[in-house]
Symmetry: C2
DNA sequence: CGCACGGTTGACACGACTCAATTGCTGTGG
DNA sequence: CCACAGCAATTGAGTCGTGTCAACCGTGCG
């Protein structure tokens, strides 16, 4: 357990929904964390477990998976900076499986830290609430997608959402990002069969919207993709919307949150443990 | 604005997820509320509105509707005792439309009341959190349903869920409850077309699982319905699960939360304003 | 080398959507 | 009281999207 360096992605994520003072950022910088590495489809949190710390995604992707078998529906996807189980600070029982979508690095942060954070800064407590609300809004939006869109739109929307959420934390700045998940994973997210997921992706490729090769996605035509998906980013509750065409983001930074070879997954810049 | 009588359904709902002390119940009894009546498909909260009070459903049903047009996907349904917009205490902006599904009675309770409640009782604050978590679990569960079940299962699951949630607040005790919503409403919930919703309901009827006539649903074969839906009530996070076969609920009470003729909607027992 | 796994393809079946028309019910006004 | 309008429910026919089954290919790993 050590302090520091893991907080920066999370700070980016927090400032994307709320304004933080420099005092708040100082508080964040004292975040204690234990780093762990997972390989694809590893189980990070088991259903029924009682958590005493939260999972902060540092690199790669994670997801909540409903059923125990591999084909189970995925109810949400998380990118670096996200805390999938922030709610366990309120009630420690985990009611689904948290899995790694591709190799992932996760920081375990004690519940106590978030409690102290909320106690010490009213503004920070509010920011954490806003994070939770954004997650809910995301869920509702996916309900709409699954309930009213066909597979092509679903897949396009997923790509759009992931792209924007990556940009928020300073990743995917060149419209390229790793996609270590399988087509079956995408199927489980979009609620379609693996076979159909394949054809859907091919469709996106054939339409010239994106390239998906060697575990890497490149957006080829962002405006067209957004149009096809009917993507409006307002549901993400971002303070300054990540614009469609040009990213308009804060200071550039070396993208290290997703850079990893598919299996080696080199320990991040100064990896502990 | 007056005090009293509106809190009982809400107290039932709260005690279904958390244990409350008699002091907590006393606090609840001081709940101030302004009662309003709505007719079917009325808009209770507008998208973009800033709320300063919460909506407590007293009678009938409400729902969050995504799009502005009538066919928009419905992302959640609420029964008496529910507070659809409890989250506005954290961030007042409403990001969807809250609509009445059939005639409904709603109590407007100031945000301040819930803030005081949380401040005065740790246990109550926790109970409110659990309510919010239950709502999220409900959303996730619907994501799974929409992503992996066909229309018959979706409809069956909806009926199961509504039945259990009604029982929790002392309604639908005889496996009968009003269904003032239209088949198009059901379609918007289940993510299917209105025409197909009709055929699906007929299918449920033909299989002898339920009767749906004159705006009233009667469960004809609860075990079979549960089996068809694959319904497990654990995601509702109830302290004592409402069992499948025999209701096993606290003291019986006159069911007045849903009793209303389709259009007249007589002002409830001692309606104010 | 061969096995396992992810990706790809084709054929076929079935669930669901759309269009369009009809029936039934309920409330309204002549 | 009846005629009518309007809405919800119902039905049929045809089309389209998606699931399933099965086979095949390529790659990476033991």
């Amino acid at each position: 357990m050590q302090t520091g360096f893991a907080f920066t992605r999370f700070a980016d994520r927090l400032t994307s929904v709320a304004e933080l003072s420099s005092d708040d950022l100082d508080l964040l910088a004292r975040m204690p964390s234990a780093i762990r590495h997972f390989s694809s489809h590893d189980e990070i949190r088991r259903r029924g477990e009682h958590a005493s710390e939260c999972c902060l995604v540092l690199q790669g992707y994670t997801c909540w998976k409903d059923a125990d078998h591999s084909a189970g529906q995925i109810t949400s996807v998380h990118v670096p900076g996200d805390i999938p189980d922030l709610y366990t600070t309120l009630s420690p029982r985990v009611d689904a499986r948290l899995c790694a979508l591709g190799p992932a690095v996760v920081a375990f942060v004690p519940h106590a830290f978030f409690r102290e954070l909320s106690a010490q800064s009213e503004r920070m407590a509010h920011a954490l609430s806003l994070l939770a609300l954004a997650d809910i809004a995301c869920l509702r939006n996916w309900l709409v997608i699954l309930g009213s869109c066909e597979s092509l739109t679903r897949a396009a929307h997923l790509i759009c959402e992931i792209t924007v959420r990556l940009r928020v934390v300073g990743l995917a700045r060149d419209d390229r990002f790793p996609s270590p998940f399988t087509q079956s994973d995408l199927a489980a997210i979009c609620g379609i069969s693996p076979v159909h997921a394949n054809r859907t992706i091919q469709d996106l490729r054939r339409k010239g919207l994106l390239h998906w090769q060697s575990r890497m996605i490149t957006i080829a035509d962002w405006p067209a993709l957004v149009r096809l998906a009917g993507f409006k980013s307002d549901y993400l509750r971002l303070r300054q919307p990540v614009l469609q065409q040009d990213p308009l983001l804060p200071e550039p930074r070396t993208p290290d949150g997703l850079e990893m070879s598919s299996s080696t997954l080199a320990p991040a810049t100064a990896a502990p443990l």
